[in-house]
């Protein structure tokens, strides 16, 4: 078993001639909570999506729980895995999106049991029971039969978190989970995320919520121009950033 939940070495991504990731080096230990911050266009979301192979890397090494993501290694070559194998790996990694992406034609509870039943082959009854527990955990037990369009943004995002948790993931990825929310709804989502941290979940959070990063995360990584420029404890990064770029960025957002 690898010591790291996520290990990235010189991860690169370019689309046509545009370099989005220019060599990301990054590790996350088991049970660690790390936030990725940085200016827009710095590659935070792209890197996050590479971790579950929603975006394919074009160079470097990226593993989750000691296993390559989306590839199989033979000697010096990485062969892209078949769809089924990649899908099976993705099923172990939870992801929460900026725009929630709840399945619009399904109720809250149907959203949550969809993947356990369809992907993992869980029994509907067991999945529903588990889902009720998760709804309770995110404080929305009374909204089980509501459609996404009947829920506020904050409620939708909490359901989306429950949906990801239903797969019993070993790692949770959050892609700006509060950026699309009205300010008064941000708190309830962060509250649920704090609960996950307390449960010991390994989490990577792309965020603009500097207070969350400071209060909750073990480490904060500052990204700029496709690289991780600084990665250290929140106290150190926020109070005494070492690089000019981090200082500059933080002076604008704090």
């Amino acid at each position: 078993m690898s010591a790291f939940m996520v290990e990235a070495l010189d991860v690169r991504k370019s689309i046509s001639n545009l370099d989005i990731l220019r060599g990301v080096d990054f590790t996350v230990a088991r049970g660690e909570v790390v936030s990725l911050i940085g200016p827009s266009g710095s590659g935070k979301s792209t890197f996050l999506r590479c971790i579950n192979h929603l975006t394919k890397i074009t160079g470097g090494y990226l593993s989750v729980d000691g296993e390559l993501v989306g590839y199989r290694r033979e000697g010096d070559k990485l062969y892209e895995l078949g769809e089924r194998e990649t899908a099976a790996k993705r099923a172990e990694i939870g992801m929460v999106f900026q725009r929630f992406n709840l399945f619009a034609h399904k109720t809250a509870i149907e959203n949550i049991i969809e993947a356990p039943v369809q992907v993992k082959g869980e029994k509907r009854k067991a999945a529903t029971e588990h889902a009720r527990g998760l709804l309770d955990k995110v404080g929305l037990a009374h909204k089980a039969d509501a459609y996404p369009s009947e829920l506020s943004g904050g409620q939708q995002q909490r359901i989306a978190i429950a949906r990801a948790l239903a797969m019993r993931p070993k790692l949770m990825l959050f892609d700006e989970p509060t950026s699309a929310l009205d300010p008064e709804l941000v708190g309830e989502v962060l509250e649920v995320m704090r609960g996950l941290v307390a449960d010991g979940m390994t989490m990577i959070v792309v965020t603009h919520e500097m207070n969350f990063a400071r209060d909750v995360c073990d480490r904060v990584a500052f990204m700029d121009e496709g690289r991780i420029v600084e990665c250290t404890t929140p106290a150190e990064l926020f109070d005494s950033p070492k690089t000019e770029r981090a200082r500059n960025f933080l002076s604008h957002v704090l």
Binding site: L54, R90, G94, F97, F103, H105, V119, M167
Partner: protein, 296 residues
């Protein structure tokens, strides 16, 4: 002092009554004019159609349930159902191919749509019917090698029925492909992403998440296409397949009761399209439940 002053100002304001207001709608004095015009036209139509003996309504009634007509009707109905089913299945395959990231596959789908939408269905039907003129033998083998696994006389395979099914279904596939593609593109890409992130394969995400949501957009034009198909089947009369219209034609070519028999056809077509409209409404309501809720 100042208090009395304020009071005085208030007293000077003209009194505004707030209760007991009655709303009087616009009188609409000339609303009877269009009513009279419509009634007048309806009366004219009734007199000229119903009371004109040359329409021969009793004859229409006598033919309406005649065995030959009912047999033709049955052909029309099963041809519509079969060709529409095949067309929808084909449409889904072509639509997904058209959206493929493999250039040859999407190119082939484009070519297919281009050809079958771009040539008249009447010509396509006659073409399939006369396939034997082009290929006397039909076979399946490896191109350019002379190896064949299966071979048969074209005229044994391409009967009026198979020619009709081929022509109508292949043509419908092209139209349905564009309808399905529009439906799939109408679903937000985030839905697909969320499904994939949860570990679904592309196929499962399409079947469980994308297509059910695309149905809202796909159903109304598909209803249109089904009604269109019902009437389009009448074209198979040119390749001597005895559908409703062909049956009527073959009767009136003997009896010269042209108009009454065409009226029989029209009434049946109208009846069937009415039934189809009701069914379409039901299906739309089913998939539309999300849309009503989606107001928020």
């Amino acid at each position: 002092m100042s208090n009395t002053k304020v009071g005085a100002v208030a007293d000077e304001r003209p009194e505004t009554p707030t209760a007991g207001l009655t709303i009087v709608p616009r009188s609409g004095r000339f609303r009877w004019v269009p009513v009279v015009i419509v009634l007048f036209l309806a009366a004219m139509l009734t007199e000229s159609v119903l009371l004109n003996p040359r329409f021969e309504w009793p004859l229409v009634a006598s033919y309406f349930f005649s065995p030959a007509i009912l047999h033709g009707l049955a052909t029309t109905v099963w041809l519509t159902v079969l060709c529409m089913t095949l067309g929808i299945a084909l449409g889904i395959v072509i639509a997904v191919s058209r959206m493929s990231d493999i250039p040859i596959v999407s190119g082939f789908a484009r070519l297919y749509i281009w050809f079958f939408r771009g040539t008249p269905i009447l010509v396509q039907l006659i073409f399939w019917y006369n396939l034997a003129a082009l290929f006397p033998e039909l076979g399946f083998g490896i191109p350019f090698t002379g190896i064949t696994f299966f071979q048969a006389n074209t005229n044994h395979i391409v009967t009026p029925v198979t020619a009709a099914i081929l022509g109508l279904a292949l043509n419908e596939g092209a139209y349905m492909a564009e309808i399905v593609r529009a439906g799939i593109s109408s679903v937000d890409d985030g839905q697909n992403e969320a499904a994939r992130a949860l570990g679904m394969t592309r196929l499962k995400a399409m079947r469980r998440i994308i297509l059910p949501q695309a149905m809202r957009v796909i159903i109304p034009p598909t209803g249109n296409e089904t009604i269109g198909m019902l009437k389009m089947t009448s074209l198979v009369s040119v390749i001597a397949l005895s559908d409703l219209l062909y049956t009527a034609q073959s009767i009136y070519s003997r009896t010269f009761e042209t108009i009454p028999l065409l009226l029989v056809c029209c009434c049946w077509y109208l009846l069937l399209t009415s039934v189809l409209s009701v069914i379409q409404g039901r299906i739309e309501a089913h998939y539309g439940r999300g849309i009503v809720r989606a107001g928020g």
